[in-house]
Symmetry: C2
Subunit: 408 residues, 2 copies
């Protein structure tokens, strides 16, 4: 069996945690798991420390300099986890991005992996070594150091698993899997033992912090089984599998798999543009250039001849740069009367589940429940397997609670 | 003019210090110094922090895993100093060991540089960029990360200066140069504005912590001028030049350039071996394998037929492993009656100066002064330009004081 095991920041957070990883690897090695590659994050808090240092030195440092400083955190983990494996009598091969040929594009600080040298890992295995790989980092074709953006180590692990045609990619973190809602908010939240990629992707995108959406996307694309487990737990403890469901499993899944909440959302409304202009394209292009992730977009075209409007949400922390991007096009033709307004203190509450596809009436129940709980709904957006609404942040937890009570 | 500027741990110890480096580089760049390469150490304390982490995880980590973790400190400095240069409107090219093709042998954690890709720096210069290079690290021909050992960043800087045929290599540190004695011990210690490589090498080897001996050795081999300056000082502040002296300068040098003290020295005496065995070779070979730096060796061959003895010193911290190495050969033929004794709490006090070569009577004055100050001398060793003696650690400062009074 070929397995890629990724250990996140808290799972490598101290010498003790690293020794625990090594003990587990030694046990698994003695049980015959000799085709194992370990991918590590920076020790908990280390990446934030490095990012803070960069900001203190130069808040507008080039992404290349930024990546250089920030990628060092994973390197430390690679050396230390290798040393830990050695203390268990295992042979470790420490590998940085460039040593494993993790080539990315040159979009520094949010680079995309283009290729990985599978032979480096396979040679290590042939020599009885366990490769220990730095997550989060790569190199461009010109050998400049890049990083993959937040959550990048998960993506590194899945990309490596895909390159190796591994049997599974294990994500070791400090929670034992994905829940039907945030257990801190919804007391009755249930552990989900198995889910399909689409639900996992929607849950990830919606703020369940367990997995990064890009990692799930990549796993889904190559049908790579993911398993999320708590590295602080015993081997037999529960975990969440993310993989294709059998038809039977899919039919048995609940209509709604989980309820997810994202806070610190801001809404922007742009009104008064001519329907015949390219304003919508220009607007979102400019916002994308400002590196803002626009989330919900609601645009209901008014009858011909009327001026149009569009509403959308962004993370509150991106509000200022988004507004600046919008101002930059107010001088374009047809934008003279553009009116921009904004509102902060909002949240997004969503219900996700592949079961929705085959069940009608979910939307009705969804809005009925919120109405009954007197939660004002400001925006609505839906996909095949998701219903989301924007509500005041103060009502978000209550909304999540009543939706969970209704569906789960 | 081509200049390599190395900044040590305290000189990159904080965001403020990095911005100070950038301001200096900007000023120099505007004044026409466009062929400048900056070599950086890890931020003060960082390497120790990483070494401690490795020891906590596995006290006997492989040098390869150790190097991987420990080399990360310089990478952070490279990213941050590059960011600092950018904030001054300069273009920086951050470079790790492998990116600059700093190829070393595979003696991990004390690797020797074999080659450097000069073209990488020259391309950067052609594009108006200032290269910022990670000191202390390199890669083997197989692309494994290596480190050069303590003080390695100085060596990186000199090696780069040599590869570039630079006009000089500047060592920026937290002292303004080399002194005739440790100013904390000898009040009258004088700043040395200019000295030759041999004196600098003896002073470096003897514990004046300003420069690493390997860096001076390399500079001497290629006649690369070194200048030691305090990065906390103004540009016009004094500094020490280390370079070939003119005949006139050499004649004018004092007989003794400096007095140097090394503490925490232990002496080992091995007695009772047959003069016809290979015991001396075996002994020091075994000790070298234990990675101990033997310093003073005194062996006065007794008349034929007598059993022999040898005395030597090691840093106190290496005493245990040295004794273990000696014990490992006590079962060899002719070693049955080997007697080993040791003494700690010693120090080495030395007087150094090229002037000694042409002045007789230095030794006489040296021992006369120590006798007058009632400093017991336990061992003596001399070279062409140096006289050293082993004394009780408690008398070391007094010995340095009276020798300085006598010669300087």
């Amino acid at each position: 069996m070929k397995v890629v095991q990724k250990y996140g920041g808290t799972s490598v957070g101290s010498p003790e945690r690293m020794r625990a990883i090594a003990k587990r690897a030694a046990r698994q090695f003695s049980e015959g798991l000799v085709h194992n590659a370990i991918v590590v994050s920076a020790m908990a808090g280390e990446t934030n420390r490095l990012v803070d240092l960069v900001r203190q030195v130069n808040p507008s440092a080039s992404p290349r300099a930024y990546d250089m400083a920030v990628a060092a955190g994973e390197q430390v983990s690679v050396g230390l986890v290798s040393a830990a494996l050695e203390s268990e009598g295992l042979r470790a091969l420490p590998l940085l991005g460039h040593q494993l040929g993790i080539v990315t594009n040159d979009a520094h600080s949010r680079a995309r992996i283009q290729s990985i040298r599978r032979d480096v890992i396979e040679n290590a295995w042939r020599n009885g070594m366990i490769p220990v790989v730095a997550g989060f980092q790569g190199v461009t074709a010109d050998n400049a150091i890049t990083t993959l953006g937040r959550g990048g180590s998960d993506t590194s692990a899945v990309a490596l698993a895909v390159a190796l045609e591994a049997d599974l990619c294990e994500i070791n973190t400090d929670v034992d899997g994905v829940y039907s809602a945030d257990p801190r908010v919804v007391k009755a939240a249930r552990h989900i033992p198995k889910m399909d990629y689409e639900s996992a992707l929607e849950m990830a995108s919606l703020g369940s912090k367990v997995l990064h959406p890009r990692c799930v996307e990549l796993a889904a694309k190559y049908r790579m089984p993911l398993v999320v487990r708590n590295s602080f737990d015993a081997e037999e403890a529960r975990r969440t599998w993310i993989m294709p469901l059998t038809t039977e499993e899919a039919l048995e899944s609940p209509v709604v798999t989980g309820v997810s909440t994202t806070k610190a959302v801001a809404r922007i409304t742009v009104e008064g543009f001519d329907p015949n202009t390219t304003i919508l394209k220009d607007l979102f292009q400019r916002i994308a250039e400002a590196d803002t992730n626009v989330d919900v977009i609601v645009h209901d075209r008014h009858p011909r001849g009327h001026l149009q409007s569009v509403g959308f949400t962004v993370p509150t922390e991106d509000l200022e740069k988004t507004l600046a991007a919008i101002r930059s096009i107010q001088s374009s033709p047809g934008c003279a009367n553009l009116q921009v307004s904004q509102e902060t203190g909002l949240a997004k509450v969503s219900a996700v589940g592949v079961g929705m596809r085959s069940h009608s009436g979910v939307a009705g129940r969804f809005f009925g429940v919120l109405e009954g709980a007197e939660v004002p709904v400001l925006m609505i957006t839906t996909s095949e397997i998701k219903i989301s609404c924007i509500v005041p942040e103060a009502s978000a937890d209550r909304a999540a609670q009543v939706l969970h009570d209704e569906f789960l």
